[in-house]
């Protein structure tokens, strides 16, 4: 097709075909790649706007996990005596919260992104997948700030992470893909059914208790561990804690199940997204 087009129209190589929405997958990966600069601009906009007109600006990126950590240490650690794998409570919670807060904000952001950008979506074309992609990408900067604080905490408590810290990028990638997989689903669904927006806060709350954020996964009985792993964030959170501190359990089986689950979520999400993408401007 493209070859004949270039023969007929030697001055131009680009041909765009507009057809009714297909039933099968029509994800245009090349188009997505060509639009990477726009992805950069979307992320840049999110970052620029996020802490505009706040008194302490990006300090919020540090305060959010830090204050949550204080609350958790007090109630779950001091008062409820939940075991912490031999780590100081603050380090135990903070290492998990780093991953969890990234995930939950990215998810909330992704859910609303199509609706928030409806004016742009209904007026100009670009690969819509860029929006949820930008949502999960811009959260990484906050995660970076939070990480700096974590390094300070490691120094303070004289904790030496082992060589497992080299695996942090793997768990980070898994966290990104989980956020993207679920975020893509929710962003498309929220564009069509606004109910999603009200469900997501509860979803996130339940999900946190289904992940080893406030407790170690060793509390989960061995024979239910595989089922627990169906929650991809279980592997991510436990993995974060283990690779950052060297304490806890290397999430072996858990990680395998989680990775499988993420793949299913992501592929399914992208399929669904590309199916509704073509007419999403009509329902926004």
């Amino acid at each position: 097709m493209i070859k004949s087009a270039t023969l007929d129209f030697p001055m131009q190589g680009l041909r765009q075909r507009i057809t009714p929405p297909a039933n099968c997958l029509d994800l245009n990966v090349r188009e997505l790649w060509d639009a990477r600069e726009l992805l950069y601009f979307f992320v840049w906009r999110d970052l620029k706007v996020r802490y505009k007109q706040t008194a302490i600006g990006a300090l919020w990126a540090i305060l959010q996990p830090f204050l949550t950590m204080l609350v958790f240490s007090l109630f779950f650690g001091r008062l409820a005596h939940i075991p912490s794998d031999g780590l100081p409570h603050s380090v135990f919670y903070y290492s998990a919260l780093l991953a969890w807060i990234y995930f939950s904000t990215a998810l909330q952001h992704a859910t609303n992104t199509m609706v928030e950008n409806q004016r742009v979506i209904t007026k100009v074309y670009f690969p819509r997948l860029l929006l949820p992609l930008a949502s999960v990408t811009s959260g990484l900067v906050d995660l970076g700030f939070g990480f700096i604080v974590f390094l300070g905490m490691l120094l303070y408590y004289h904790i030496q992470p082992g060589s497992a810290i080299l695996l942090v990028p793997v768990f980070l990638l898994l966290a990104i893909l989980t956020a993207l997989g679920v975020g893509v689903w929710l962003s498309a669904l929220n564009a069509i059914y606004r109910d999603v927006r009200y469900v997501v806060p509860f979803l996130i709350q339940f999900w946190m208790f289904a992940s080893p954020v406030a407790y170690p996964s060793s509390l989960v009985p061995e024979r239910w561990r595989w089922l627990y792993g169906l929650n991809p964030m279980a592997g991510v959170v436990e993995g974060f804690r283990w690779s950052l501190t060297g304490h806890g359990q290397p999430p072996s089986l858990l990680l395998g199940v989680s990775a499988g689950m993420v793949s299913i979520l992501l592929v399914g999400g992208v399929l669904y997204f590309s199916k509704v993408e073509g007419t999403i401007a009509d329902v926004l």
Partner: protein, 446 residues
């Protein structure tokens, strides 16, 4: 070599009624799921006209079997009434939404301008928004960087580049937004009615920019209700109605076609059936028409218009009269005109016909509505009809030269000016702070 840039075949777009205005909630989905078994029983073909059992339409074809071809370098004006499918067609061609049926091919990079300020974020500064908006419209970062100064100069906002655009005046906002869009350089440009922004001088600048773009040999599809602009910019026009392409051809032909159809609908009211005619025990209206004078098909600034009123009177020997109030689309009363049918208390039962001429070069271009009041003794109202007819005065270039925008003002008289010129001012030179230098240039002297 064929040089078709846009080729659309049988494009159709169906909207479910209500879907566009109101978003779906889960309960709608549940309701639809409940009724789904019933719908399976009816073959798809029978649902095509979109009627439910109770007769309500469930969907509407905003675009139906639209075919068009645009060649390289053509500037095509897409005209038609509201709801004719122009914007839907543009949305499909710019890939914002997909068609329900048919297909289209576009060869070359497409840029679409469906709104001024797409992607602007109020919290970001002017220069940040130039980058953001440019990127969203499809420019690369390098391209924006190259044109940055040009964009800023065109928008005349140099001093406010580091101010968040939420603090901009609406004029500055629009200027900046248009300026970014105007510097987009795609091979195919799709433009919706976005030129009607800013003040008159900026509008002129925008139209000039559009004209310049079209001379560069790029292909433009331009949706507009401004017929003067279409006539000036386009070399072909396509008329749409009810979602289909009705006519395509030279601008002059198609525009006249359109205006003729659009004009006669609201501006002529005739009641053949007395039972339906507005009236009471005193009188009954039989017709009121606003038609263009001099046999022209449309009312424009040059032609003026005739008002024709026919009424049936039932009361004898009264002082019968009426007044006509003409207001513009902003609700400003432009003028009131009285006429007495029987000033000497000698009205008779039967038909009165009255006619008058609104001269050319009086009303400005725009839409007008007409109120009619019939009265007795010029005081007691017998019948009042608000907005009984409406009419549109089309813009012409008379007295406006190259500027095809609509001139501001309620009226647009064609005034004859006279002027004189002298080499030196006639008043005493030494006391003057104004001096004529050369031919026409004037400078201030401290």
């Amino acid at each position: 070599m064929s040089d078709v840039v846009i080729r659309a075949e049988n494009l159709g777009k169906r909207y479910h009624l209500g879907e566009r205005e109101r978003y779906l909630a889960l309960r709608d989905l549940l309701a639809r799921a409940m009724s789904a078994p019933a719908r399976f029983l009816i073959p798809e073909g029978h649902q095509r006209n979109g009627h439910h059992k109770n007769g309500a339409r469930s969907h509407i074809w905003a675009l139906r079997d639209a075919c068009l071809e645009v060649r390289r370098g053509e500037v095509v004006g897409l005209i038609g009434r509201n709801g004719a499918g122009k914007s839907t067609l543009l949305k499909i061609l710019s890939r914002i939404t997909k068609p329900t049926t048919g297909s289209a091919d576009i060869f070359g990079r497409v840029g679409s301008l469906l709104e001024v300020g797409t992607g602007f974020h109020p919290e970001l500064t002017g220069s940040e928004n130039i980058y953001l908006c440019g990127a969203i419209l499809g420019m690369s970062k390098r391209e924006i960087k190259q044109k940055f100064d040009e964009i800023v100069a065109f928008a005349e906002v140099e001093k406010f580049l580091s101010t968040p655009v939420k603090h901009y005046s609406s004029g500055m906002y629009v200027r900046l937004a248009f300026s970014v869009a105007a510097h987009l350089e795609p091979e195919v440009l799709l433009v919706d009615e976005v030129l009607a922004v800013g003040d008159a001088s900026f509008q002129k600048k925008c139209l000039g920019k559009m004209g310049q773009v079209s001379h560069e040999g790029r292909t433009i599809v331009f949706v507009s209700h401004n017929m003067a602009a279409v006539k000036a910019l386009c070399n072909r026009a396509i008329l749409m109605g009810d979602g289909a392409v009705i006519a395509s051809g030279t601008v002059a032909d198609v525009v006249d076609d359109y205006l003729l159809g659009a004009a006669s609908e609201a501006s002529v009211k005739e009641w053949r059936d007395p039972a339906l005619a507005p009236g009471n025990e005193s009188l009954r209206l039989s017709y009121i028409r606003i038609v263009s004078a001099e046999g022209k098909p449309v009312i424009d600034i040059d032609s003026g218009a005739d008002i024709e009123i026919g009424l049936e009177n039932f009361r004898q020997n009264i002082n019968l009269g009426f007044n006509v109030r003409v207001s513009n689309s902003e609700g400003v009363l432009v003028f009131v005109s009285h006429h007495r049918l029987s000033p000497d208390n000698d009205s008779r039962c039967g038909f009165y016909r009255a006619k008058c001429r609104i001269p050319g070069h009086l009303l400005n271009a725009g839409c007008y509505s007409v109120d009619l009041g019939v009265n007795k003794d010029q005081r007691y109202s017998l019948l009042r009809l608000e907005s009984v007819v409406s009419f549109e005065v089309e813009n012409t270039a008379t007295g406006r030269g190259a500027n095809m925008g609509v001139a501001p003002g309620v009226v647009r008289p064609l005034l004859s000016w006279c002027h004189s010129f002298e080499e030196k001012p006639s008043y005493k030179e030494e006391s003057s702070w104004v001096k004529v230098v050369g031919q026409t240039e004037r400078v201030c002297r401290p």
